[in-house]
């Protein structure tokens, strides 16, 4: 935790890609066990914001604090910090040359320094958690999209992270496979994981989210309880966006 009781704190984040001003002054504080849902139109900077939290994108300006560590500080060991933040991608990004279980054990062994046996034990536990015990020895190409995404979630969870980041985890899935992944995410939220979720699943946002952020053109336009924002959007842009997606 940071000194102020938050787990994540972003202070005045700006991000430019060349001349493109993608994040334009973002302040955000997230407390432990909070589930923050991030919505907004395409190109509004949701992914970029999420990726600044674990420093996959380095902010051009501003500071990021995670669990008492200033990630934007030049001397911070980012690898160590990242090991405690899980991230799930839209395109799964499983390692195709490794079996499902090896996808999980790789970082356990290389980063956490566990022995093979310990790592395998932990990995099996996590695969069981997402309901894929029987797929441990399958290669990613032998799994369905939904199964791949659940392995990816298990891979992140195996590291025992304090924070999970989801970037449109269900967007690349066939409609009938979305449910299984959302269910895993919901269980995770109920277990008290701190989560930042970029999603187009408004049902999920309403039921699982503690807080909803609406982003547009690089700024957080509006935030509040999901139910409130859905029922009662304050900004024109929010109304417009919600009328399109609901």
């Amino acid at each position: 935790m940071n000194e102020d009781g938050t787990l994540i704190r972003l202070d005045g984040i700006h991000k430019w890609f060349g001349d493109l001003h993608v994040l334009r002054g973002i302040d955000l504080a997230i407390v432990p066990q909070e589930v923050v849902v991030l919505i907004g139109p395409s190109g509004s900077g949701k992914s970029t914001l999420l990726r600044t939290i674990n420093m996959l994108e380095e902010p051009t300006e501003g500071g990021v604090w995670f669990d008492g560590i200033e990630l934007t500080h030049i001397r911070t060991d980012l690898n160590k910090a990242r090991a405690r933040m899980g991230m799930v991608f839209q395109s799964f990004n499983l390692f195709p040359h490794l079996k499902a279980i090896e996808n999980l054990t790789l970082a356990l062994i290389k980063v956490l320094g566990l022995s093979r046996e310990e790592a395998i034990g932990l990995a099996r536990e996590q695969l069981a958690h997402v309901g894929l015990s029987d797929k441990a020895d399958s290669y990613p190409s032998q799994l369905s999209g939904g199964q791949q995404q659940r392995v990816a979630i298990a891979r992140a969870l195996a590291m025992q992270p304090t924070l999970m980041l989801f970037d449109e985890a269900t967007s690349a899935l066939d409609p009938e496979l979305v449910g299984e992944v959302l269910r895993v995410m919901q269980e995770l939220a109920e277990e008290g994981m701190t989560m930042v979720v970029v999603t187009h699943e408004m049902g999920f946002a309403r039921e699982v989210g503690n807080r909803l952020l609406f982003m547009d053109q690089g700024v957080i336009m509006e935030e509040g309880l999901p139910a409130d924002v859905f029922a009662n959007p304050q900004h024109e842009r929010t109304k417009e966006f919600l009328s399109q997606v609901l």
Binding site: N54, L56, N79, K80, R82, A83, R84, M85, G86, M87, F89, S91, N93, L94, F95, P96, H97, L98, E102, T105, L106, A107, I109, K110, V111, R116, Y139, S141, A152, R155, A156, M159
Partner: protein
């Protein structure tokens, strides 16, 4: 056909189905087409063999009276061959007639395919017959004299069988270390491969020992190879330099020369000893781990044993071949092929290893790291290989008074050149791995180098194996460029051997011998490239 019935197994579409679906016409067309091609090939072979391919001319016979190729020329011009040609054309035309009918009556796809096969094969047979006919109208005698004196190739294979059988005991014995060394090297390579492509089966310290052992063995082998090639171990030269300090005087005893020799030998044997010790030590370590059951699974033991057996076998064969080549009388195509192999394998070892490192530099985000790598790559890709060889062998080496054999220079330049080309291949391979792979890996807390090692490079390697093998085939052919350096007769590669023989006999068949030698080496390689490409396309995750 009963549609709508549920089928549990896929329908048989094999050879039996193919046969069952033929009709009389299509079947006739199919076999007659095959017959046409076989007839012209086999017929030509039989006729030429009946007349004889070469003959023995008495010493001092005038070339106009007797040439070794006379029987061949006779065979080519013979009535017999004429009959073969006519028969082929008749059969071919008959095939086409049958095929025309078959094309009208076929009812099934296999029948159509068989007919098409018949038409095409008949065309090939008739085409070849036509070529023979045309050839017979040219100056066959002269052509045979200049290009088809196959006895010349036979004479210059260089292997003397009586010598080989007489010395076979020694040859076979000398091949044993090859088998052992190759087996150990194979095991180590296999382990390194497992460590690179998958997460690590061996604990860190042992892994370090293994890597050191591999490096030591490779170094030892390289030193041995150099020694073999130059007739003078490379490290002796290094120690000579150390010897020049004149330790003898410093120590106040003995003559300088004694100490140079003694020191050189001492350090040399130490190096050898260290290499062997590390290699065999690593080997023992692995055995220990296997016995203790601290190994991943049977699968890995089986893989290791298989790799060792295969490599031990091929090592033994290589040893035997090497022993036979050593007894060859020069100039010898066999010795030339051996040198071509050594040049290309040693060049590839340097090139493929160096290229990977170079490609990592070339992809650095830091311009100061990238720039030298780019300069190197562009320089070696931008200048002709023959210039590089000449410049190193005839420029740098004499100018700097380096005492390096041209053979070693050739290996170095071939390796450095290949490094530049393979670096580009590696780079393309690594960059073809989706960005998400690196990101996912970094997100898990792996460092940049770890991500490269465990995630990106293992995937990239699989993609670059076919293009790298292609580069290797090119390298094999490019070894011929070293013939511009003054190599001794025993160092000459295939083209050099061909040229030497040509300049003493003025018989162009020597060039055919060189070409045959290259093909014997490159064709299997090309085949391997095809197989690997097919395996990778079929979606198997591993090529090993």
């Amino acid at each position: 056909m009963s549609l709508g019935v549920e089928r549990l197994t896929p329908p048989d579409r094999g050879i039996r189905y193919f046969m069952a679906q033929q009709n009389g016409w299509s079947w006739a067309s199919f076999w007659m087409g095959i017959g046409t091609l076989v007839m012209v090939m086999l017929g030509t072979l039989v006729v030429l063999t009946a007349h004889g391919w070469t003959q023995f001319c008495p010493e001092g016979a005038k070339a106009t009276e007797c040439s070794p190729t006379d029987p061949l020329a006779e065979g080519l011009m013979s009535r017999g061959l004429g009959l073969v040609i006519i028969a082929t054309v008749i059969l071919g035309v008959a095939t086409w007639v049958i095929s025309v009918i078959s094309m009208r009556v076929y009812q099934t796809k296999p029948a159509k395919e068989a007919t098409l096969v018949g038409i095409v094969l008949a065309a090939q047979g008739v085409g070849f017959a036509g070529f023979l006919m045309w050839f017979r109208g040219s100056d066959v005698d002269r052509f045979a004299r200049n290009f088809l004196d196959v006895r010349l190739i036979g004479d210059h294979i260089g292997l003397v069988w009586s010598k080989i059988t007489a010395q076979f005991g020694a040859i076979a014995e000398a091949a044993v270390p090859w088998a052992i060394n190759m087996a150990i090297a194979g095991l180590l390579v296999w382990i390194v491969w497992r460590m690179v492509v998958s997460d690590n089966p061996v604990a860190e310290p042992i892994r370090t020992v293994l890597l050191a052992g591999t490096a030591a063995i490779v170094l030892g082998l390289l030193l041995d190879v150099t020694g073999l090639l130059t007739g003078n171990l490379a490290w002796l030269r290094i120690t000579e330099r150390i010897g020049e300090v004149n330790w003898g005087t410093l120590l106040g005893t003995g003559s300088r020369a004694d100490h140079v020799d003694g020191l050189a030998q001492g350090i040399g044997s130490l190096l050898r000893f260290a290499a062997l010790w590390l290699g065999y030590g690593a080997f023992a370590g692995i055995c220990y781990r296997i016995l203790r059951g601290d190994w991943r699974s049977d699968e890995h033991i089986r893989g290791a044993v298989r790799a060792m057996l295969i490599l031990a076998g091929s090592g033994y064969v290589i040893g035997i071949v090497k022993g036979m080549v050593v007894t060859a009388t020069l100039p010898s195509f066999a010795a030339g092929a051996w040198n071509t192999l050594i040049l290309s394998v040693a060049g590839a070892a340097i090139g493929f290893g160096g290229g990977l490192v170079l490609s990592l530099f070339a992809m650095s985000s830091r311009a100061v790291v990238r720039a030298p790598a780019r300069i190197y790559i562009n320089f070696f890709r931008g200048t002709p290989l023959i210039w590089q060889i000449s410049f190193a062998g005839m420029g740098i080496v004499p100018a700097l008074h380096l005492n390096i054999s041209p053979y070693w220079v050739a290996i170095m330049v071939l390796g450095l050149n290949l490094a530049a080309y393979s670096a580009e291949v590696y780079r393309a391979g690594i960059q073809s791995i989706e960005r998400g792979q690196m990101e996912a890996s970094r997100t898990l807390g792996l460092s940049y180098m770890q991500s490269l090692q465990y995630v990106v490079v293992p995937q990239a390697i699989r993609r670059v194996i076919p293009p790298l093998l292609n580069e290797f085939v090119i390298l094999i052919k490019d070894t011929s460029l070293v013939s511009i350096l003054g190599l001794t007769l025993s160092q000459k590669e295939l083209l050099g051997v061909g040229r030497t023989i040509y300049s003493s006999t003025f018989d162009a068949t020597a060039w055919l011998g060189a070409a045959a030698g290259f093909l014997i080496i490159t064709l299997p390689m090309i085949r391997i490239v095809t197989i690997v490409e097919r395996r990778m396309r079929s979606g198997l995750t591993s090529v090993i």
